[in-house]
Each structure stands twice: as structure tokens, then as C-alpha cells.
């Protein structure tokens, strides 16, 4: 990436030239992105694939006479950008008039200053990235004699600079870098095979802990060997941070202003009510620079902000972009999410359940009986975010007399989202950064149906 792109000023200047063309009564928004991504996958000591891609994207939104038009293109060439503006204007003529249609306007919230971009990541050569993927595979394979293979060992990174400029007075520039290692191991004993994964996430390669990712993948697969089905019962379950992050992602999706407006949120009419246990506080905080989804501005160029969604179990607010905010009689919460190729949606960027004081070991030590869920499968098909019904395949370990005991697999855990939130007994102190919207943390939930034999 070039030096002028590193500041994003060149992108914003291009945006300035487009929005200057706004006619009276017309609003124009330009989103410009320049990104570079690399993915390396190792297999049996060699490179299975190496992909490197750069993208120059522009998305233009036009609002006129309460109608919205949008067009996008994969180039920053001035002639292409001019064509894209013409297409967006043309599309607006076909739009359905909607009194709430309109761009975001400056709302006075200060943009948080964060150091999310590490120029040194741009300087890492491809050979180094390949070496990390190969070393990740080797460290995983060598981690235990029962590891019989590595299903995938990946290094992935992304550098991105973006600008949002509007004729309504918004001019924001954001940039960030991220990288992660991920590995899936295979452990075997006789005919039996188990899988386990490990991750490490950072803003540049120095942040990555390759040995820890490999060790996690080894431990997770090996400790499942010999697993049987548990007896069917209601019991307390402990969600591993990785599982909690997936669970929180689903909870977060029910709190989008769009879901509420469409009457698809199970929490639509419950603002101010107790919907979760007192130990549970849920926040979407993209202003935390340690969060994987951190960002200074949202998809409409407004400052991101810390949005507490549930405070000690009480539902405080929903997330909005400027459209859903206006339509709901409130304001944007700086939660517009989008790529350059689409109009803004609404969503969480950096969800976190406020950690408690106890370590995972201490939480388990307090339980006579229960189940540690270390992985779930079929979550997207097994959870109904409209009704809240929750049923997913799982694997993990039994908890007996305060200790992790025998491995179990091929069972389901079921409850409803509403009940699980109210049944949260404790949140661990082990906040874990994952390449996902939500951060992981150990979560203890009572009275979940575990179905096995």
C-alpha cells in the first residue's frame, strides 16, 4: 500500500470531489476502501494455498425526494467513480419514497483515537507469513504423539484504509490492521478421531502466540479421545470462551434496531425490563482498541461509541444506524455496518460480556456436577433468533466433584435464549480475543437440557 493511502487522505479527497457535485435537495455519500489481504494454508509441511488480494472499492449512495439509490464499483479511477455516481442517481429514480430515508449527519460525538493500524504489518514479507503457517502446522503435529494430522493451519491478515464523505458534513477516515493464526488438529486412537482448534489474534505478527495456538489445538483434540455420550438430563453447563462468543453473537443479533423494527426481535418490547441474570452485563464497545472489531467510525462515518446493551441483566437499548434510529424515534448509536458494496445495515462490532472475578478452574471447582461445552456444531440451524429456541450439537467434558472428568460427544444442549440469559450463574475472568464480533469468556448457565443416551 502506498504512503498516501496509509493516511486515507487521498481517499477522502476523492470523496470530496464527488460530494461537491450534489445538486440542491440531493444528498450524496461516498464510501471508499483500499484493502489488502493475505491467506496462507499449510498442509503436510508444504504450502497448500497462498492467496493475496488487494481491493479498491467505491460505494455511492444518493438520496433525493425521499428516495435512495446506490451503486458500487471495484476501482478508484475517476471515470469509474463518475459512472458510479451516475448509476446511483439513476437508481434513486426507481426507489420507493420513504420519509425516514437519508444520510447520517454529524452528531457531535467525538471520534475515539485509537492505534488500530500497524504499518509494520504491511512490511512483513510473504516468506515470513508462509513460515508462520508451516511452523504452526509443525508445532501442532509435534504437540502430542496422538496427533495424527492437521486438517488446516492458516495465517491470515488484512490491512484496510477507508473513508466516508457526505454532502451532509461527514468526513471520516479510518484504518486498521489485523492478523490471526488458526489451526485445526486431528487426534486419533484406534478407529476414533477427534478434532480441536487453536487461535491467536493480533494487529501485527508480533502479537501472535503461535505456540499457544498449537497447544490449544492439541489439548482440545486429545482430551476428547475416548468420549462417549452423556446421559440425558438437565444440568449446569460451562461454555468455553469460544462457545460463549458464538452465543453472544446470536444474542447481539436480536438487539439490532432493524430486527426490532421488523418485529423479529424477541426483546422488541422489553426495554427497561430484566432479561438476564444480575451478573450479566453486555456491551458493544468498538472503542476498546483491544477488541478485534474495534473501529473509530461506523459505516456511515459517525464516531463509534460504547453502547451498554444489558446492564446487570436490564435491557438498556438497541443498536441503530441513522435510518433505523430515525424510524424508531431515536438516534444512531454509531452502529452502521457495511462493506463498500452495500447500503448500511445495523449490527454489533465488538461485543463483550463484562468478566467476573473467578478463573475457569474456580468456577468448575464450585460445581458438583455439570458439563463443559468446548465446541458446538450446527448453531446456525439450531437457534431460532426470532422465537429464541436454542438447540445445538456439542462436545466437551463432564464435570464431577469440582473437576473436569471424562470426555463426552454427540450430544445436544437445548434451552431458549431468554431462559439461558436469566440462568447465567457466573461470568469468568478469562476474556479471550477471537477473530469474531464477540470476545470470548467462560460462561456458566444453569438448567440446560443435555441430550445424549
Amino acid at each position: 500500500m502506498h504512503d498516501d493511502d496509509l493516511t486515507g487522505e487521498a481517499l477522502a479527497s476523492l470523496g470530496d470531489r464527488v460530494v461537491a457535485q450534489a445538486a440542491p435537495g440531493e444528498q450524496i455519500e461516498v464510501v471508499l476502501v483500499h484493502s489488502a489481504e493475505t491467506e496462507v494454508r499449510a498442509w503436510e509441511g508444504d504450502i497448500e494455498s497462498f492467496a493475496s488480494a488487494t481491493a479498491h472499492g467505491v460505494g455511492i449512495r444518493v438520496v433525493i425526494d425521499q428516495r435512495q439509490g446506490f451503486a458500487h464499483a471495484g476501482s478508484h479511477d475517476e471515470a469509474v467513480v463518475a459512472e458510479t455516481l451516475a448509476a446511483a442517481r439513476d437508481n434513486a429514480a426507481f426507489g420507493t419514497p420513504d420519509e425516514f430515508q437519508g444520510l447520517a449527519t454529524p452528531d457531535g460525538v467525538a471520534v475515539p483515537e485509537m492505534d488500530l493500524y500497524r504499518p509494520e504489518l504491511a512490511a512483513v514479507d510473504p516468506e515470513t507469513k508462509i513460515r508462520m503457517a508451516l511452523e504452526l502446522e509443525r508445532a501442532t503435529r509435534d504437540g502430542d504423539p496422538r496427533i495424527c494430522g492437521v486438517e488446516s493451519a492458516d495465517y491470515v491478515d488484512s490491512l484496510s484504509v477507508g473513508a466516508v464523505v457526505t454532502s451532509t458534513g461527514i468526513r471520516s477516515i479510518g484504518r486498521d490492521s489485523s492478523c490471526y493464526l488458526s489451526v485445526y488438529s486431528l487426534a486419533a486412537d484406534g478407529d476414533e478421531t477427534q478434532t480441536g482448534f487453536g487461535f491467536s489474534v493480533g494487529r501485527s505478527v508480533e502479537d501472535l502466540d503461535l505456540q499457544q495456538a498449537a497447544a490449544d489445538a492439541v489439548e482440545r483434540a486429545v482430551r476428547l479421545l475416548g468420549a462417549g455420550k452423556p446421559a440425558t438430563r438437565r444440568t449446569t453447563v460451562v461454555f468455553d470462551p469460544w462457545v460463549t462468543a458464538q452465543f453472544l453473537g446470536i444474542v447481539g443479533s436480536t438487539l439490532s434496531g432493524e430486527a426490532v423494527l421488523k418485529r423479529r426481535s424477541l426483546f422488541a418490547d422489553r426495554l427497561g425490563e430484566t432479561v438476564a441474570a444480575p451478573v450479566f452485563t453486555l456491551t458493544d464497545d468498538p472503542t476498546d482498541p483491544a477488541a478485534f472489531g474495534a473501529g473509530e467510525t461506523d459505516g456511515e462515518g459517525l464516531a463509534t461509541r460504547r453502547n451498554e446493551l444489558m446492564t446487570a441483566g436490564v435491557l438498556r437499548q438497541f443498536l441503530h444506524n441513522s435510518y433505523t434510529g430515525r424510524r424508531s424515534g431515536t438516534a444512531s448509536t454509531g452502529s452502521a455496518v457495511r462493506g463498500y458494496a452495500g447500503t448500511p445495515g445495523v449490527g454489533c462490532m465488538a461485543l463483550v460480556a463484562t468478566p467476573g472475578d473467578a478463573t475457569p478452574d474456580e468456577l468448575v471447582a464450585g460445581m458438583d456436577d455439570g458439563v463443559l461445552v468446548q465446541g458446538v456444531t450446527g448453531l446456525h440451524s439450531g437457534v431460532n433468533p426470532v422465537s429464541g429456541d436454542f438447540s445445538t450439537g456439542a462436545e466437551g467434558l463432564r464435570i464431577r466433584n469440582g473437576e473436569l472428568a471424562e470426555p463426552i460427544r454427540e450430544f445436544t444442549v437445548a434451552s431458549t435464549l431468554q431462559r439461558m440469559l436469566l440462568d447465567v450463574l457466573a461470568v469468568g475472568n478469562d476474556l479471550t480475543r477471537l477473530p469474531m464480533t464477540a470476545a470470548g469468556v467462560t460462561l456458566v448457565v444453569a438448567d440446560v437440557t443435555v441430550s445424549g443416551e
Partner: protein, 122 residues
């Protein structure tokens, strides 16, 4: 790209109604939603989008939002009845890295002796 383009289980000789009538206690799955398979272990999970209890050989109450969980190779060993109503399902696409191959699969009505059904009413 190598993919199995046309995978099916051959017809049996039972009447589908007889298979249900011969089942004292079970679940009739009319439609599956999304699912996930761990191809390394063979473990699978599928959501049931339309299913009914079978009681004394008759379909009774509908079941909602439950999951089926099992292991592919083990389930194949547990098939104990095959209907004579073979049909192909809706075609789909299987692929990776931007490549896609049209794929299809088919089966008659079949019965599996035991399978874990997840839900809250267990």
C-alpha cells in the same frame, strides 16, 4: 474439482406407510434445515424444520426446532428399513475457493434404529 455429483441410497421394498406403522415410538422427519458435518470425525448435526412424533405407529404431535445429532458411518449401520419410494432431493452446489459443482442426492424413506434428538422436552 472432485466432488460426488450424484449420491443416493438405493430403493428398498417396504411401503413407507408400513415403516411408520411398524414403529411404536419414534420421530418422523419430513424436512431438514441447515446442518454441519465434521468431515474428520463423521459427526453431524441437522436441524429439523418439519418433524412429528410417531406413537404406536401413527404420526402425532409436531416437533419444532430440534436437532438431530449422530455419526455418519455409525448411522449407516443402524438403517433397518428402506421404503420403495426412492426420489432425488433438490439439487445443490458443492464447492470451494470460487469453484462450484452441481450435486444431487436421493433416498427412499428410511428408518434408523436410534439417533439423538436434541430439544428441551427430553
Amino acid at each position: 474439482m472432485v466432488r460426488m455429483t450424484n449420491t443416493y441410497i438405493a430403493n428398498g421394498d417396504s411401503e413407507p406407510d408400513d415403516i411408520v406403522a411398524d414403529t411404536p415410538n419414534g420421530v418422523y422427519v419430513a424436512h431438514l434445515g441447515g446442518g454441519q458435518v465434521n468431515t474428520a470425525t463423521g459427526d453431524f448435526v441437522f436441524g429439523m424444520t418439519e418433524a412429528y412424533l410417531i406413537e404406536d405407529g401413527r404420526l402425532t404431535a409436531p416437533i419444532r426446532d430440534g436437532n438431530l445429532i449422530g455419526n455418519g458411518p455409525e448411522v449407516l449401520m443402524l438403517i433397518d428399513a428402506l421404503g420403495n419410494d426412492f426420489a432425488m432431493g433438490s439439487p445443490g452446489t458443492c464447492g470451494k475457493d470460487g469453484q462450484g459443482v452441481p450435486v444431487g442426492d436421493g433416498t427412499p424413506t428410511l428408518r434408523v434404529q436410534r439417533l439423538t434428538v436434541g430439544g428441551t422436552a427430553a
